[in-house]
C-alpha cells in the first residue's frame, strides 16, 4: 500500500463537529528557539466540547454539573489524595523553583503562562491549599489559595485539556513532580461532577459497547482484514493472513483501532502481519479487544482503565493464546507495559488466583506483554527476517520518540531499550537514518501535541501550536539532511502529525510507522 495516499484522521467525525469558533494558527519557526515571553490568557479560548449526559452516564459519571458540585469536587480531591501518593506528595512538594516553566511544548507554542507545568499544577494546588492545608485555611492570599468556584473549574477544564500528559516536565523537576498525575486527578475530579471532555468520554463508551475506540463492529473488521489480505497478495504474491478471533493462535495482537483503516496507521498493521508471516508465528486479532488504546488513563480513572484493560485479559483467555503483543501505540504501550500486570494480573510475580490463571496460560519464555518492536527486533537478531533495505532508499528517515513510550515505559531488558530498539529496527530495514537534535529526542522528546485525549477537532489550534518544538527539530534535519520520513510508534502521533504537518509546510505523508518501513523492506519467502 502506498504511503502517499490521503490521510484519514482516526478522530471519529461523529465525536466533534469541525470547530467553527477556533481559528487555527501555526506559530512561525524561530531561528533560535528561545523561551517565549508570557502572553497572558492567549489560550483562554481553547476549551474542549463538554460531554453530555448521554456520554457521561454510561460511564457512571453525573450527566451534568449540579447544585453542590463544589463540595463534591473538594471531597473527591480528598479521596484521591488518600488513594494516590503521587498526588499528595506533588501537591506539597513544589517550591516554585521554575525549572519546569519552559519545558512544556504547549507553553513553547503558545506563551500562555498557564501552560507552564507549575502554573498548570497550581490551578489545582491553589484549591488543595485552601481546603487541605493549615496556612491555606488561615491565610489563603499569602500562599495563593483559592476557593473552588465556577471560574476555577472553567480554568481547569481549559488548561487541564491543554496538557497531553506527556511527562516531559517530570524529567526536569528536582522532585520528579509529574504534571500528568495532576492533570489526571483534575480530569477525574471534573468527571465526578459531570464535566468531561466529550471526545474522550464518547470513545470510552464505544470501547465498552463495541470493543474499540472507533466503534468498528466485528463484521467491519473482518471485511477490512480480508481487503488487506487481497492487497498484500496482489502486491507481493505472498498469502499473508490477517486473522480475527482465531482460537489457539500463539499470539494475540492488540493494536490501536486506527490501524484498521486510518492512513498511515494501516501500513504498520500490514507490516505486523508480514513479520508474523515471515517468522511463521500464528497470530490473531480479537474483535472483543480490537483496541489497544486505553482512554481510562487520560482521565485518571482507575476503574475505567481496569475495565478497558480487562477486555484484553478476557480475549486472551477465550482465545487461549500463549503471548500478548501490543501494536504501535504510545499511551497503550504505557498502560500495557506499566499497568496491565497491576490491572489484570497479566504477567508474573504474583500469587493471587487472579494472576495465576493467566500465568498458567501465557508462555513465560516471552515478555508479557511484548511490544511489536520487541518481537520484530528479537526476530531480526535471531536471523529469522530478511530485508531488502534498498526498497526504503527513497526515504531519509528520522524517528520521533513518542512521549508515553519514552518516559512511561520500557522495551527490552535494560533502561532505555525503548529508545534503541525502534532505531535498531529502522537501521536494519533502511539505509538512510538521521536523528533529530538530542534536546528533542529520547527522554527529552516532545509530545506530538495531540496526546492525552486532546486529539479532537475543536482543539486543533492548541494541537498545532503544541507541535512547534517537534516541527522545528524536524525542519532542521529536513533542510540539512533531506529527511523526508518521520517514523513513529504511536497511533496518536500518526493521526496528529498527518493533520499538523501541512500547517508547517510539510507533506502529511512524511509521517508513518516503524512497521511501515519494515513492511516496505521485508522479503517474504513465497514472494514471486
Amino acid at each position: 500500500m502506498a504511503d502517499t495516499s490521503t490521510a484519514v484522521s482516526p478522530a471519529p467525525t461523529s465525536a466533534a463537529k469541525p470547530a467553527a469558533k477556533a481559528k487555527v494558527v501555526a506559530p512561525a519557526f524561530r531561528e533560535y528557539p528561545t523561551i517565549p515571553a508570557l502572553q497572558i490568557d492567549s489560550m483562554v479560548e481553547s476549551t474542549p466540547y463538554i460531554a453530555t449526559a448521554a456520554h457521561n452516564e454510561p460511564l457512571g459519571f453525573p450527566g451534568e454539573l449540579a447544585e453542590g458540585w463544589e463540595q463534591k469536587a473538594v471531597a473527591k480531591m480528598g479521596e484521591l489524595l488518600g488513594k494516590y501518593r503521587s498526588l499528595k506528595v506533588y501537591m506539597d512538594s513544589c517550591v516554585h523553583c521554575g525549572a519546569c516553566t519552559d519545558k512544556c511544548h504547549y507553553f513553547i507554542g503558545t506563551g500562555d503562562p498557564k501552560n507552564m507545568p507549575v502554573a498548570r499544577q497550581d490551578l489545582m494546588r491553589s484549591v488543595y491549599r485552601r481546603y487541605y492545608t493549615l496556612p491555606g485555611k488561615i491565610f489563603p492570599k499569602l500562599v495563593g489559595a483559592r476557593d473552588m468556584s465556577k471560574d476555577v473549574l472553567d480554568d481547569w477544564f481549559r488548561y487541564y485539556n491543554q496538557c497531553s500528559e506527556c511527562r516531559r516536565c517530570s524529567v526536569f523537576c528536582p522532585y520528579g513532580i509529574d504534571t500528568a498525575e495532576v492533570t489526571m486527578a483534575a480530569k477525574e475530579i471534573m468527571d465526578s461532577v459531570g464535566v468531561g471532555h466529550k471526545y474522550v468520554n464518547e470513545i470510552m463508551g464505544k470501547v465498552h459497547k463495541i470493543g474499540n475506540n472507533l466503534g468498528l463492529p466485528g463484521p467491519a473488521l473482518e471485511n477490512t482484514l480480508e481487503g488487506l489480505e487481497e492487497d498484500v497478495l496482489e502486491e507481493t504474491g505472498a498469502a499473508v493472513k490477517y486473522p480475527l478471533d482465531v482460537k489457539g493462535a500463539e499470539v494475540l495482537l492488540v493494536t490501536p483501532s486506527a490501524d484498521f483503516f486510518a492512513e498511515p496507521h494501516v501500513d504498520s498493521l500490514i507490516g505486523y502481519g508480514k513479520v508474523f508471516h515471515a517468522a511463521g508465528i500464528s497470530w490473531t486479532l480479537s474483535s472483543k479487544a480490537s483496541e489497544a488504546g486505553n482512554f481510562g488513563m487520560f482521565i485518571g480513572n482507575y476503574d475505567q482503565m481496569q475495565k478497558i484493560a480487562m477486555r484484553v485479559r478476557e480475549a486472551a483467555l477465550e482465545l487461549g493464546v500463549k503471548r500478548i503483543v501490543v501494536g504501535e501505540c504510545g499511551h497503550a504501550w504505557r498502560v500495557a507495559y506499566s499497568f496491565w500486570n497491576t490491572l489484570t494480573g497479566i504477567g508474573a510475580g504474583a500469587n493471587d488466583p487472579f494472576a495465576i490463571q493467566l500465568q498458567k496460560q501465557l508462555d513465560p519464555n516471552y515478555r508479557q506483554p511484548s511490544h511489536i518492536c520487541e518481537v520484530t527486533w528479537d526476530l531480526i537478531q535471531a536471523g529469522r527476517l530478511k530485508f531488502n533495505k534498498d526498497a526504503n532508499d527513497h526515504r531519509i528517515v528520522t524517528f520521533h520518540d513518542s512521549c508515553n513510550v519514552a518516559r512511561g515505559s520500557r522495551m527490552g531488558d535494560y533502561a532505555g531499550g525503548q529508545f534503541d530498539i525502534p532505531r535498531h529496527i529502522i537501521r536494519a530495514v533502511a539505509n538512510h537514518y538521521v536523528d533529530m537534535s538530542p534536546d528533542t529526542t529520547h527522554e527529552r522528546t516532545f509530545c506530538c501535541g495531540g496526546g492525552g485525549g486532546l486529539l479532537s477537532d475543536e482543539l486543533m489550534d492548541i494541537r498545532v501550536k503544541g507541535a512547534l518544538p517537534r516541527m522545528e527539530a524536524l525542519k532542521r534535519i529536513a533542510d540539512k539532511d533531506g529527511v523526508n520520513f518521520m517514523a513513529t510508534i504511536c497511533a496518536i502521533c500518526k493521526a496528529q502529525f498527518t493533520k499538523v504537518l501541512p500547517y508547517y509546510g510539510f507533506k502529511m505523508s512524511m509521517v508513518g510507522g516503524v512497521h511501515q518501513l519494515v513492511s516496505t523492506a521485508i522479503v517474504l519467502d513465497n514472494e514471486q
Binding site: 520528579g176 499497568f339 508474573a348
Partner: protein, 241 residues
C-alpha cells in the same frame, strides 16, 4: 527572654518533629497504586537508591533542567548543610572532631548560602516566568532564610555575641535547665527566625525535603512486567469484581 525562648524552642521542636513525622507517616501510608517511574528508570532497587542519591546530593534533574537554578539552589543547599553541621557545636560537648574540622568551611558556607538565596530571590523578580508563579509566601520564605543567614553572618563577623553563653543555654535546654541567654538584638532576631522556620516546616513547601524520597516517579523500580504491583485498595476492587 530566657524563658520565652526556652518555651518557644520546646514548642518549635515539638511541631517540627511531630509535624514532619506525621507527614512522613502520611506519605508512607498513602499507596502508590500504579507503576509510574519516569523512564528510563533503574530496573533494580540498588539502582533506585543510586538515582535517589544523585537527586539528593547533586540535584541531577535540576542540573538537566536549568543551570542557573541548579547552581544557585545547590550553592544554597550545600551552604545550609555545612552551616547546620557547624552549628552542632552549640549542642554537643565535647565537639566531635568532624564538626570541629568543618568550622572554617561552615563559616564561609554562610556566605555561599546567602549568595545562593539572593540569586534565587533575584530570579523571582527578574525572570518573567518565575515572577508569574511566585506567591507572597515564596518571597517570605526566601526573606526568612536570607534573614537567618545575614543575622548569623553579622554575629560572626560584625557584632559578636557571647557564644559560650549561647551554648550553655542550648546545652541546658536539652536537660530541661534554663540558663541565661545573652541580651543581644541580633541573637534574638536570629533565634526568632529559627523558631519560625521550625514551626512552618511541616506545613509549607519545605516539605519538598521529605517529599522527594516519596516521589513515585523517582523512587519506583522499573519492573512492572516482572513483579505484580498492587495497592491494597486496588486489590479490594479486584475481589469485588
Amino acid at each position: 527572654m530566657n524563658y520565652l525562648f526556652a518555651l518557644l524552642f520546646y514548642i518549635a521542636t515539638l511541631i517540627l518533629v511531630g509535624g514532619v513525622a506525621y507527614r512522613v507517616y502520611d506519605y508512607a501510608r498513602t499507596p502508590a497504586p500504579l507503576k509510574i517511574p519516569t523512564t528510563p528508570a533503574p530496573t533494580t532497587t540498588s539502582g533506585v537508591a543510586f538515582r535517589m542519591f544523585r537527586e539528593v546530593v547533586f540535584f541531577e534533574s535540576l542540573f538537566k533542567s536549568n543551570l542557573w537554578i541548579w547552581a544557585l539552589g545547590w550553592l544554597f543547599h550545600v551552604g545550609l548543610a555545612l552551616v547546620l553541621l557547624r552549628h552542632l557545636r552549640y549542642f554537643t560537648e565535647p565537639v566531635n572532631f568532624i564538626i570541629a574540622f568543618i568550622q572554617p568551611f561552615g563559616m564561609y558556607a554562610g556566605f555561599a548560602m546567602a549568595a545562593g538565596l539572593a540569586g534565587l530571590w533575584a530570579r523571582r523578580f527578574l525572570v518573567e516566568r518565575i515572577r508569574y508563579i511566585s506567591t507572597p509566601s515564596d518571597h517570605l520564605m526566601l526573606a526568612l532564610l536570607l534573614g537567618l543567614a545575614v543575622t548569623g553572618l553579622l554575629m560572626k563577623f560584625v557584632m559578636h555575641t557571647d557564644i559560650v553563653a549561647v551554648k550553655t543555654f542550648f546545652l541546658g535546654l536539652m536537660v530541661f535547665e534554663i540558663n541565661p541567654l545573652p541580651s543581644h538584638p541580633g541573637l534574638y532576631l536570629h533565634l526568632g527566625m529559627v523558631v519560625l522556620l521550625m514551626m512552618i516546616f511541616p506545613i509549607s513547601k519545605l516539605l519538598h525535603a521529605p517529599g522527594l524520597f516519596f516521589s513515585p516517579t523517582r523512587n519506583q523500580v522499573d519492573n512492572p512486567r516482572e513483579t505484580r504491583h498492587l495497592a491494597p485498595w486496588a486489590a479490594q476492587l479486584e475481589r469485588k469484581a
